[in-house]
Subunit: 244 residues, 2 copies
Amino acid sequence: MPKNKYDSIYRDLKTKIENKEFAYQDFLPSENTMVQTYGCSRNTIRRAVSQLVSDGYVQALQGKGVRNIFRPVEQASFTTGGIESFKESSLRNHRKGRTKVLQFMELTADEKIAGRTGFAAGAELYYIQRLHFLDEKPLIINHNYFLKSAVPGLTPEIAENSIYEYLENELHMTIVNSQRVMTVEKITQIDEKYLHINVNDYNCMAVVSSHTYNSDGVMFEFTQSRHRPDYFRFQSNAVRKSPV
Amino acid sequence: MPKNKYDSIYRDLKTKIENKEFAYQDFLPSENTMVQTYGCSRNTIRRAVSQLVSDGYVQALQGKGVRNIFRPVEQASFTTGGIESFKESSLRNHRKGRTKVLQFMELTADEKIAGRTGFAAGAELYYIQRLHFLDEKPLIINHNYFLKSAVPGLTPEIAENSIYEYLENELHMTIVNSQRVMTVEKITQIDEKYLHINVNDYNCMAVVSSHTYNSDGVMFEFTQSRHRPDYFRFQSNAVRKSPV
DNA sequence: GCCGATTTGTCCGTATGTATC
DNA sequence: CGATACATACGGACAAATCGG
């Protein structure tokens, strides 16, 4: 649902590009003509276009125009730049997702956990271990730590469906941003067991660690997401800035 | 060198945050007061702040303010969101970088290379294999393919120093954007040999594949960057958008 | 090489909407 | 309810880059 003007223009241009209404390497209509066609101000056009730039769909060139450089993606990407739950990712890729809760417990952060997660020592936490299947194939093991004071009332049932759905729809929490680090780490016995990986094939995992904040400024979640290496794929677009 | 107003304000706020002039969880001055202190329009302030938001330094909350959630980074990150050469990364992290050219050859793309790199079959290319050391430790092997027509006159000497320096300063090319895919792949004998990795420790590599465009809209570079898994680290910040 | 038209980039001021307190 | 804060949108001005004549 495009709530805003710039967002609806952005989506319109995006689908037009995806549907090849602009040829590869062609220029989009100039800002001034788009002002006419969309009936809005130039700023609004510019905002929509700048989103396409950061998506890597187009390049904006001063004095020339906005060039379409979109190439249809070769493959569905499971991990993307945004914040989304496993359930949302599955839906976006039109795949069947399922989640199995391996562990669900409450614990108090000791020094070791505090150091690893970023929560204060002594904080009351939920610790949840979940296995995510895509089309019945086990792909990801998640180790979630949730701050109990910010996320009360979690249950294994909720964890099996969607924790984010619970946070947003039941607790009315607003999730704002998530700081992530991607690394490659050695496989553990847990990974091996649940993801059915042969160590002779792969003895590492793709690991995404994230600290997530809500609108109260509370870092309410630390998650370590361990992905089967042969199914992990992360896409991004980068823009060149003049070196500092 | 801050050329623009919004950029200089952005940098000023950023260093102030990094130097803890705003406490963690504190709100920055409101937009209207910053309009006074910086002597500019509200739009310019908003532009600077929105950069801080996408950096994950602050969260902007309607009706409340802009909250500082910056935590000093635990560790230097080698791979970041932007486009930068190995030489630039080394400098930014205050480390000593060195590059050794393992292979330098010209070739014509056959179907297999075309499929892998995205260049057209028959295209004339440079193929360069380079080993990157950080503080004399071999960390990365790069396989570069450059389009000869867009990047004429490459030499092993240039490849040993910095190809991007040559492109930008000598050829006056403008590098615009780069589309990247991160994956985990099995180690090869080349990796093993040059990076001194014991397969019993790690039999995978972190691989970053990138297609890079210049301001002519030409995809002039395909690079596969293979990183030692134990030294690879990629940071990013994500913002929650309402699920579609 | 210069000039003028076109196009994107920066910046300003203002008005209105919406969320918070 | 009112004051304050950020969000969206408009219109205008000038700068900077590109391109054709």
